[in-house]
């Protein structure tokens, strides 16, 4: 009782803080600060139609590297956290069968999903989307596969290679920015190309592709571990 009252009080207090924030909130009418710069100069400097992508991949590319790292870390940690013994690894997951609908749709949809994912991260600098979104879409395909057949073996080595190569490439592209352009993760060491083209905006499509692959691989990896951990006795 006391506890509930205390929680109620806490929530009310949080509400009070938010109320103060809300009260002093004045909707913006103009872009200010860095947003104004990005809006005004972004397309010109980076060559990407999608300003958000310009920010994510280049202006704040260092953050993005951090994000990728977070996914990578999570996957790695889950990798050794949910590691199975040899004996468990060989087991099969006992389940009551999955629905026919799921199995069939997986067969049809998964290639399309993969393709769509690739499309999303390749066009990240032009249209809404990007590496993370694309990667997530790919991973959702993997999720569908797993759901359709819980005992399905995801090619572990392929994931590993994709993950590793794309990650290293991302770092190398970042470093190329130092050597060939203005700084770490600068996309402009490749030509900015024609605004609006697929192969424009310098290294952005490249970087975003690697990010997309890596994200897809990481999330798939995590899903794979979760799936397998059911075998743990």
């Amino acid at each position: 009782m006391v506890r509930n009252f205390l929680i109620g009080l806490v929530l009310a207090s949080i509400g009070f803080i938010f109320f103060n924030l809300y009260n002093t909130y004045e909707p913006k009418t103009e872009l200010n600060g860095i947003a104004a710069h990005y809006a005004a100069k972004g397309a010109e400097e980076i060559g990407a139609a999608n300003i958000v992508t310009a920010i994510v991949v280049t202006y704040r590319g260092f953050d993005t590297m951090g994000e990728v790292t977070i996914l990578f870390l999570t996957a790695s940690i889950i990798g050794f956290f949910l590691k199975l013994s040899k004996k468990d690894e060989a087991k099969k997951i006992i389940h009551h069968g999955t629905s026919e609908l799921l199995i069939t749709s997986a067969q049809i949809l998964v290639p399309i999903i993969f393709l769509f994912g690739v499309y999303v991260f390749m066009n990240g600098h032009l249209t809404p989307g990007g590496g993370f979104q694309g990667g997530a879409i790919i991973a959702s395909g993997v999720a569908l596969l797993i759901m359709a057949n819980p005992n399905r073996q995801i090619n572990h080595h392929a994931i590993l290679w994709i993950e590793s190569i794309s990650g290293v490439s991302f770092v190398i592209l970042g470093l190329l920015g130092i050597f060939l352009a203005g700084g770490f993760l600068d996309n402009r060491f490749l030509s900015l190309g024609t605004f609006g083209d697929l192969f424009s905006a310098g290294a952005i499509p490249l970087i975003y592709s690697f990010i997309g692959l890596k994200v897809g691989a990481e999330i798939s990896n995590i899903l794979n571990k979760y799936q397998k951990s059911q075998k743990e006795s």
């Binding site: 929530l11 949080i14 909130y25 872009l31 947003a35 972004g42 994510v56 940690i77």
Partner: protein, 126 residues
Amino acid sequence: MEYLQLGRISLIISFLLIIIGFWGILSQKNIIKIIVSFTILDTGINVLIVSLGYLKGRTAPIIDASVSQGPNHNVLNAIVDPVPQALVLTAIVIGFGVTALLLAYAMKLFKAKRTLEINQFNDLKW
């Protein structure tokens, strides 16, 4: 109808989501429910971030036809703030990572004691 404009509504919703998230975190005993509460909290924060970047009557920060066709051909006056949209991407990814890890932990905790009651896991205290 100034008080019902989109920016304010989404702000209120985000605050409500955050408070619901806190409520769940503080009052639910089941670890899975707590994790779900965390995702609600994260969602609330993400909505908050996006709604703070909202400018009335503007379009997405992608320079395409919608921008050029706007009433004002200046990009500066056509798009919403792109920065929060970039930030929210990061926030979502971080939220994903944390949630994934929390779920892995939940599995291990369940393995350890065959329960998901959070108050069963107080081996370390005082």
